[in-house]
């Protein structure tokens, strides 16, 4: 069973990373925003949020942050995810599931290629 003391080792590792990043520009940070209002939660956004956290941690991506937001405005398209890459237009993905998270991480976050199949499609 995990004990809270183990967090000290992670802290020490991260302190070294943080001091390396002290001179880095915050505007280089990519943000993955998951809608977690009632609509998003009911549609399955919690496992999506945690899948992104796990993937970012596994890939050791220091300049990527997963954050929660309120309602993103189109409840019927939840779970929705917005990706903000510095210097690029915001990309909004819809109907996201944990299975789709890996592809967004592989293609969009790591290679810069938008996953067009997860965008809002024309009727």
């Amino acid at each position: 069973m995990k004990s809270i003391e183990e967090i000290m080792a992670i802290r020490d590792k991260m302190k070294a990373q943080i001091s390396n990043r002290d001179n880095a520009d915050d505007s280089t940070e990519t943000r993955i925003v998951v809608g977690l209002a009632t609509c998003g939660i009911a549609a399955g956004a919690v496992p999506v949020f945690n899948a992104f956290v796990e993937e970012v941690q596994k890939r050791n991506l220091e300049n990527v942050r997963v954050v929660r937001s309120g309602c993103l405005g189109m409840c019927k398209l939840e779970p929705m995810v917005e990706v903000f890459v510095p210097g690029e237009e915001k990309v909004t993905y819809v109907y996201i599931t944990p299975d789709k998270v890996k592809k967004i991480m592989d293609d969009h976050i790591e290679k810069g290629k938008v996953c067009s199949e997860f965008l809002i499609q024309e009727a």
Partner: protein, 180 residues
């Protein structure tokens, strides 16, 4: 919503939206009842708004007049033979209480509480959880964890990923084989 954990997360996000700096979350399972309480020190509600808060067409949101979180929790509690109560003082905070008869056929499962709590762990406020099943208690207090982290953000991805496993292990341990 399929799991009680998701209802609880939804109410905790209301506390965050109300600018709470301290959120206290209690789950106590005893004598065939699951009791849940969320206490925040956010901006609270006026008496007038509080009277209407269980109406799904009332919300603090200005974009549209729908607020489903509280009515859905009330419905889930009452469907499971339990009770729902909300108290609030403008400028002081809000307390939401709900109970559920554990063996009621219409009670939703508690679900994955660890997964549900990870999105609300933040540098911006403190979150305290008291989780108790048949007298066995697990306490999770981000104020204490932040002290241990000594400046490393609690909401960084490495820490959140670790805390998910930590919460899951300890909740499972307290459940002692019970599936809630």
């Amino acid at each position: 919503m399929r799991e009680l954990s998701l209802h609880f997360l939804d109410i905790i996000t209301n506390s965050i939206k109300a600018d709470a700096k301290n959120i206290r979350f209690y789950i106590i399972v005893k004598d065939n009842v699951l009791n849940m309480e969320i206490i925040d020190d956010g901006k609270g509600m006026s008496e007038e708004f509080l009277e209407k808060v269980v109406d799904p067409f009332k919300t603090t949101r200005t974009t549209r007049n729908i607020g489903m979180g509280i009515p859905l929790l009330k419905q889930a509690a009452e469907a499971a033979g339990g009770k729902f109560k909300i108290e609030s003082t403008l400028g002081k905070g809000t307390t939401v209480k709900a109970s559920f008869i554990l063996k009621h056929i219409d009670r939703a499962p508690l679900g994955n509480l660890a997964d549900a709590l990870i999105p609300v762990i933040s540098e911006n406020f403190d979150f305290f959880m008291h989780y108790e099943v048949d007298g066995e208690i697990f306490i999770f207090d981000t104020k204490e964890i932040k002290k241990m982290l000594d400046g490393v953000p609690i909401d960084s991805q490495e820490i959140l990923a670790y805390l998910n496993g930590y919460l899951a292990d300890n909740i499972k341990n307290i459940n002692g084989g019970k599936i809630l």
